[in-house]
């Protein structure tokens, strides 16, 4: 019999820091490093590492540009990233649905004796 939990979540997205980044970028066209730092609450170092991982997986495109002397790093989610995130969300939905607690009637009265 096939287990209900046989499917594995996408390990790249499953990590909390990367999940935050993917969640933010999934509703945007693109965002820069400073904005992502503010939204996710990650440190520079951590955000930098996680962006690289997501880029290596092909989920993000990270481009760099200079505005005057200030460097700006812009992250954009790729189509592969969007579909992977969509699948991940569907997986979570399935999982939560399968493990949802049975509804308890609020008007249930426990009779004693």
């Amino acid at each position: 019999m096939k287990s209900r939990f046989a499917a594995e979540p996408d390990r790249v997205i499953h990590e909390p820091a990367r999940l935050k980044i993917m969640s933010v970028l999934s509703v945007l066209d693109c965002a820069d490093f400073v904005y992502l730092m503010g939204e996710t609450g990650l440190t520079r170092g951590n955000l930098s590492v996680q962006l690289r991982r997501l880029e290596a997986a092909g989920y993000l495109v990270v481009s760099k540009e200079f505005r005057g002397r200030v460097p700006r790093t812009i992250a954009t989610m790729t189509n592969a990233g969007r579909s992977a995130f969509k699948e991940y969300r569907a997986y979570l939905h399935r999982l939560l649905k399968a493990t949802s607690e049975p509804k308890v009637r609020s008007d249930a009265v426990v009779e004693s004796g």
């Binding site: 999934s26 945007l28 066209d29 965002a31 820069d32 400073v34 005057g68």
Partner: protein, 212 residues
């Protein structure tokens, strides 16, 4: 899901967080309004055409100024973000174009064509109706994105329109004073928002990004 929805809403609201857009747009609107008032006061057709040309140039300059200021003030402090463009259907696009024409045509007609007779009930209703159409998109944005200070701009525009009718100010002056007061209100709210933003985000906190 709520977190994701909130992230989208925050990104949409983000462009209003610094008040730069309001400040610059308000300044441009106030300048255009003042130009219209001067041209009307001097009753010069040449000056009317010149002021309309200057208005278009100022609108373009205002757009570039907002970009310039955001590059130097906002993005180094709190970053750059581009929310997804709304996917509009054909009827929605058509509706927006009609709304744009409704907003743009009356002042041009009022300015160059026969003056609106504000002594008649039809004239008053037409003018107040136009003011309402002009500020309706701002009111919708204010409520949708939770930028409630923009309602002050909307209120000022409606109050100026109402006062112009009550005082029976002639057409050209009416448009000029409406633009001037509405622009001034936007400058006030923009300045307050910018002041609050600069206090909340000192430059040293997030000074550009580094190596990724």
């Amino acid at each position: 899901m709520n977190e994701i929805r909130a992230a989208r809403r925050r990104a949409q609201r983000y462009r209003f967080s610094d008040g730069i857009g309001e400040f610059v747009t308000g300044s441009v609107l106030a300048l255009i309004g003042t130009g219209f008032l001067i041209a009307d006061f001097l009753d010069s057709d040449t000056l009317r055409i010149v002021s309309l040309g200057v208005a278009f140039a100022l609108a373009l300059l205002g757009f570039l100024t907002v970009r310039f200021l955001k590059e130097r003030i906002t993005y180094p402090r709190t970053g750059y973000v581009r929310p997804p463009k709304p996917q509009l259907t054909y009827p929605q696009r058509f509706g927006l174009n009609v709304l744009f024409l409704l907003i743009v045509m009356p002042p041009i007609h009022e300015y160059f064509g026969p003056a609106l007779d504000v002594d008649t009930a039809t004239g008053r209703v037409a003018f107040l109706g136009w003011v309402s159409v002009m500020v309706a998109p701002i009111a919708v944005m204010a409520v949708r994105f939770g930028v409630y200070r923009l309602l002050f701009v909307v209120g000022t525009a409606l109050a100026t329109g109402g006062a112009a009718i009550l005082l029976r100010i002639p057409g050209g002056e009416m448009i000029g004073s409406l633009f001037t007061f509405t622009g001034a209100a936007a400058v006030i709210t923009g300045t307050c928002a910018l002041y609050g933003y600069l206090r909340a985000h000192p430059r040293s906190a997030l000074d550009g990004d580094h190596e990724v």
